[in-house]
Symmetry: C2
Subunit: 583 residues, 2 copies
């Protein structure tokens, strides 16, 4: 045995814990008179929980230096979010922790896919540093698809060799959602380098395969993909379970899939299912909760309480190989949530590593903020946009137009007769046809693509953002070029965010200086900024059928049908660039 | 990525499997029209199973170079025995495989505790070599308690440092049953060296804690012990589950605990439970089966079929971190069992790594036999035993006597007035008091301890064996010294086994030359030898309340109450040596 000091101390802690557990030494903290979701028992048991050095010593009758009488309150293990992109909250990791920890989430498994597309390993490194000392266990999965397509210009490209150093990091658990199902099926060497790297290390490989069925799904699973969080129907879910894939039930702000998925979960397969609260907006988490919201909803929909708790805790921990997380038992991490009832699932206390970190919905523990390094805060590098860049030549008068669809991230591929001036298309608010531009913002390449979009409803001004899946270039929609140019200029000025311009002036904005994706401010502040932006956008005519911001972020997600716009141009379902002119 | 040829081939196999799964390439073997216990589905699904390179490509509609029409037969994953001591079957590992594979057991997790107590790492190495190329996945746990007590002389002593090389072996999964609960609770440094070694490698640590409850159990669990296979009551089982310990439901020849344990298993904790068919005699496995017998019995006792199958497969695989074992799904190992009904659970076919290895209860695959090295086949090194060694001085006429208890491995501590001659106790068959001797047989130390035992019923001759838990010294019971000496001599002559002597002659014997524990012969041959020995023993008066052989093997298990005999003398419950004379 290596006889390092660290090991010596570990052994001492071990022996101390055993002494406390066996009643020969006083605990640091004891939660008295709790209803404990004990170990693997499968239900609640009355007892005291003895805690020392951040771990649980025992459940029974104990006394401690500090004692808190829970008077019969319910204690569950801390909740685990099995799949989340922190960046999608628009919050820095520390702010995200402040938001979800009071909800009872003490562990998240995050895929830094968004920031990796912008800043590569620097971005991932930033997330690792920012989450190092939070009152939240933050584990990462290695982004598997940076970039997710070569039909757009991303800020970085990560091959297996670029990820290898991460695979040695104890906080990195596996390979994140493999979005490139065609690559898995076709035997793409870059894809297999990544798959083999994870397999060699016996690491889990997450999936992402919306709508994949039958033999294509079998091929995808045979490639070693072990989970999917994209299911929206019970049949889709059953097909994945039958392929030996774990089912991640995800309830986002946009997609409420829990209700549709639950019929696929039964007493025999629940152990292979767990929860994700990914893509939920700060306002929704503030009002409804995080994983605790998903648990409450699952129970309301008829899931047994014990099953819901296990899906929010031990089932995910087992999948990720986290041996001391997800149960309240001797020797396990003292990450606990205290509820005064099992109806609203709003935590009274959240305990992390044996210390109270949240109290009645408010953080009790201070948070250390990591200062993002310069290269993370100056990621918007776009060449100045000129009027000509926004020109949309439509000599025929007939154009390929992106047709928005309410509550969907796919679009319709329309062919319309559009208003033109000197052979150039112009916005036509009467028929609700607007101009859309995507400006490459990573390498100042000067790449700008412009096209037309129908359905958004803006009647004057422009709206621009630096959140545009998956490469997060600038995406700007507008009724006139001047406001679009003003928006582009302002987005460069504030180094990313969301801007509304009108008559050449900035009417509203939310600065997201961290990688052009995240704000340094609190969830409350960001939520209120978003509320204000949405209000103004709707006042400027944006249809109430659309979320003014999030509906735009998916217009460049080229891997989704039917027609999208990247900095390389209009991309159709065959993933090839087509001209705007339709004839 | 390391670009070795091996990795290259692995990638090629991977891509081939994906091609077959997605229907673009013919499979090597397809099991047509099966009722498949598919993936994590939790039930049976009709389909073909496509197999290539020993792995499952997909379930659906497939064609292959070779096809077997199962015509609706049921296919489950190969069964896993989560805790077994191969040596206790008295069979060499290869013979053990021949016995259990036709029963549908395709994976065992074995603790080479018995042979390690005799030959240390050489013994473990022998088990590793003998199981290298079997049609049975044999994983090992590192024996944690060699020796299990210092109140007897064992053949070897293994500290953490001696086990470390094993922890690097991919076939070694964790630390085997930690029998030394007092050591865990007291902080014994040798115990903690072993525990920390396993923890550092994120390896499971198995337990062994009969009758441990309350805070002692909490302390034991806090030490990091993650399972127990010694439970005999539902309360004991519930207590372990509540402590976050996995429950191994073991059904042995001696102890039928399944019926008592099942009430503790429910839909919420079943995922933490799995099966063991340890300590079952060859005759019982031949007549009733192995894990398939436990599955059948669990279902007869009311367990849902899917739950029983999961406990016999995926639940154990997950605990041990075996990612590609325990489910029938794309990419997983093609270890399968085919049944024509779900009533008798007798396999029609057993498939291992994609090949048929057993057919209607008979092995179809050849077995490679590893020749045990000399030091494994010459382990009986006892100094010649002299009459004086067997003397039992009882000047007072009052003696401490071991009282046998039917069907139990503990004994009673009796104090009796016994027949003596010149101050020495002699066997007294009228009152059924016999002489018992334990002869140290590892180091020819000459250690011999003699005492008295009541209840066995032998009326003439002697019976001796080299199986005596846990150090496996010679244990000899007899009505007279001459036959006992003859038995000792014969046991040295045949290098271990079971011998019956009478009137100075050998009446029956079973040679166990491999470590003095295992026979090179088949299960059928060994079973018939044991039957014959038992018949003769009973003819010679051994009470039918006792198994003539196995009742003797526990008389030196000093860690069990109340009175035992080791080569160091009579050991009472306080684990101290006491004289035979009672006054």
């Amino acid at each position: 045995m290596p006889d390092t000091d660290e090991l010596y101390l570990a052994v001492q802690r071990e022996k101390k814990l055993v002494k406390i557990a066996s009643g020969r030494l006083e605990a640091d903290l004891v939660l008295k008179n709790a209803n404990v979701f004990a170990g693997f028992f499968g239900g609640f048991e009355r007892g005291d929980i003895a805690i020392a050095d951040g771990r649980i010593a025992g459940i029974g009758s104990y006394s401690g230096k500090e004692e808190i009488d829970l008077d019969g309150m319910f204690v569950t293990p801390g909740f685990i979010d099995a799949q989340v992109h922190i960046e999608c909250s628009m919050l820095m990791p520390e702010r995200y922790a402040e938001l979800v920890v009071p909800c009872g989430t003490t562990t998240i498994v995050a895929d830094p896919h968004e920031i990796a597309n912008i800043a590569g390993n620097d971005g991932i490194q930033y997330i690792l540093e920012a989450t190092e000392n939070l009152p939240l266990n933050v584990y990462l999965m290695m982004p598997s698809c940076v970039p997710s397509s070569d039909m757009e210009t991303s800020g970085a490209k990560l091959l297996a060799g670029d990820l290898q150093h991460l695979s040695m990091n104890p906080r990195v658990l596996g390979l994140a959602e493999m979005m490139n199902a065609p690559g898995v099926l076709a035997g793409d060497p870059d894809v297999y380098d990544k798959l083999m790297m994870a397999k060699e290390r016996n690491m889990p490989i997450d999936g992402h395969a919306p709508g994949l069925y039958g033999k294509a799904l079998a091929g995808y699973a045979a490639g070693g993909i072990e989970s999917d969080h994209e299911c929206v129907t019970a049949d889709e879910a059953r097909a994945r379970l039958a392929c030996g894939m774990h089912l991640v039930l995800r309830e986002t702000s946009a997609a409420h899939s829990l209700e549709k998925l639950l019929p696929a979960v039964n007493e025999h397969n629940a152990q292979f299912c767990f929860f994700s609260a990914d893509d939920r907006q700060p306002a929704d988490i503030l009002s409804d909760g995080d994983i605790n919201y998903v648990v409450r909803k699952a129970i309301m929909l008829g899931m047994p309480v014990a099953t819901a708790i296990q899906m929010a805790t031990i089932n995910a921990a087992k999948y990720f190989g986290l041996r001391d997380l997800g149960a309240i038992a001797p020797g396990w991490k003292a990450d606990l949530v205290v509820f005064d009832n099992l109806i609203d699932w709003v935590p009274k206390l959240v305990i992390k590593d044996g210390s109270i970190v949240a109290n009645d919905g408010k953080m009790a523990a201070g948070i250390e903020y990591a200062k993002p390094s310069g290269n993370i805060c100056h990621t918007v590098s776009a060449a100045p946009v000129k009027k000509e860049d926004l020109a949309v030549p439509v000599p025929s008068g007939y154009a390929h137009v992106i047709g928005l669809v309410p509550h969907q991230i796919f679009t319709r591929h329309l062919r319309l007769n559009v208003k033109t001036k000197n052979g150039m298309a112009i916005a036509d608010t009467d028929s609700d046809i607007l101009k859309l531009a995507v400006v490459e913002r990573h390498h100042a390449s000067g790449n700008v693509a412009a096209a037309l979009v129908k359905g958004y409803g803006l009647s004057h001004g422009a709206i621009g953002l630096t959140i545009a899946h998956d490469s997060h270039n600038m995406i700007i929609i507008g009724t006139n070029d001047d406001d679009m140019l003003a928006a582009a200029e302002e987005l460069s000025e504030i180094q990313g965010g969301v801007v509304i311009t009108d008559g050449g002036d900035v009417k509203a904005e939310l600065a997201l200086p961290v990688a052009g994706l995240m704000s340094p401010h609190s969830a409350e502040e960001v939520a209120s900024d978003i509320r204000q932006i949405n209000r103004i956008a709707h006042e400027m005519g944006v249809s109430y059928a659309y979320d003014p911001i999030f509906s735009l972020t998916f217009l460049s997600l080229v891997v989704m049908p039917e027609l999208k716009l990247s900095d390389k141009g209009l991309i159709d379902s065959s993933l090839s660039v087509i001209p705007v002119n339709a004839e």
